[in-house]
Amino acid sequence: MGNRADFYTNYFYIKKHSGVCFHLLINGWGGTLKPYDEEVIKKLDIIAVKIRRHVIEMLYRAKSGHPGGSLSAVDAIVALYFHHMNDNPKKPEDPDRDRFILSKGHAAPTLYAVLAECGYFDVKELKRLREINSILQGHPVSFHIPGVEASTGSLGHGLSFANGIALAGKADKKKYNVYVMLGDGETDEGQIWEAAAVASHYRLDNLTALLDRNFLQIDGNTEDVLRLESVYDRWSSFGWHVREIDGHDIDQILDALQMADDHKNQPTMIILNTVKGKGVSFMENNVDFHGVPPNEMEYKLAMSEFDMLLRKLEEAS
């Protein structure tokens, strides 16, 4: 593989043709595979576990951060960066790149782990999440974390920012797509609905939103805190093309992303039905793990669950 240029050429070749990140390949996930076949899905599933493991390690080390919403977001972000999106860690400023905006900025650990594993920055940096002088801020910051497109953390901004990118893409007749992930609680924010109207008004079909529909925010269930249903009807009534899928099923995610790219004249909202805390038994659907990191015991338990899961997945593949 030789020099860095080769590394990335291969990376992209393999990524596009296998759905598997090269960085992970050299770490032991080898094999070139056809897209959408069962093997691809399995590989992505394995990557997702690896990302979840990073997330829990990062939060445990940082002794702060948001496990619940980071874990529910993993599969979609993995599907985007390790298979679907056209991006290049070597050229993070490439004007033709697809963009991903993490509007629910508190899920930063997931984004960071994915970016690192893709090669945007050294995986070692993950150890320094939330430490002073680290590049990895508690919430994403565009101007100094490689690969981060927008500064988020104040909820409700990301869809608007994505609108700006999509408008620029249309104006410049670029082929890129913009993907933005929203929290379900986040859609309480009025700015989301301003952005929803603008995206549909301008027929931003180069824009796809993914809603992490885990039914929890901080103070409880979304339907108790501030009723959202019918989410589907809300987005349709604002002029969006809406599809609802299992947000932890990579197959469905890849399929929905492709369908969203192909859909013309409207932005697409993919409602990802997810489980907050997904992948760590005692965090699943547990509102207490929104913003509380694992203690030592919990950390170890989570790690053993990941180990078991990985073993199972690897045996199957």
Binding site: S64, R130, I132, V141, G190
Partner: protein, 315 residues
Amino acid sequence: MSKEMVNPRNAYGETLVELGKKHSNLVVLDADLSKSTKTIMFAKKYPERFFEMGIAEANMISAAAGLASCGKIPFVSTFAVFATGRVYDQIRMDVAYSNANVKIFATHGGISVGKDGASHQMIEDLALMRVLPNMTVFAPSDATQTKKIVQLMAETKGPMYARVGRADAPLIYKTEDLKDMKIGRGLTVKDGDDISIIACGTMVNHVLDAREKLLKDGISARIIDMHTIKPIDTDLIIKCAKETGAILTAEEHSVIGGLGSAVAEILAEKGLTCRFKRLGVNDIFCESGAPADLFEKYKLNAKHIVKTTSALLEQ
């Protein structure tokens, strides 16, 4: 000599519960952060007077004004960054301009928020609230004072804003110390002749620490707890300038627009000759980190207060 640590947010939650008993028209609103702001204590005790408003801060402020127009005393809480900048226009129109009896109590002010990073470290809220006509602005320094200020807010008409930090804070006062505390009247916590250090909120504790160190260098610093940023205690500032000839302000806030600016405005307009320096965040966004690390890097801890004081007195 280590002081008892109490979280001002807990003091807020507890005081709300007490006041809720006394004032049947006191209501509380929160925007999906009741566990962090501690309004959850009130919510549990008086669920019918607690309004969960979701992650929709703008609506929360205007709705609070509507409640106030019906004779309620609404306390509105969320993090300082969302309680001010996110909703400035709503506070401006529905609270300040309308002179509504709305009480905004914000937590997680300043950089001691720590690891969440600059997006969550509100260093402009005092400036934003100070520029609004009709607004009273507080930054209580410990749990005891928080309690006192929450009581004053509930029992005094008009638009008011208060902010506390996220962290536990050493107790500075006993309840009886604050019996006569008044809105707009700073407290002289320690006397001194060489310089007056005027601080607010979380910084009062740090300047008290600095005072101990300064004493060893033979510098006697007067410590003023300027819990009310607006209306500011002009008389006390003038007195300090005249009696000590040097003033340092200290706030967990930008040096622009907050306590330091308020004092500078008075010193400049009164034409008082007085050495003067503002200590605070120097007009930058800070970063994630443990609060102590941030206070060291951004020069807000006792060590740096000592340094700054010495440098000012050597001028």
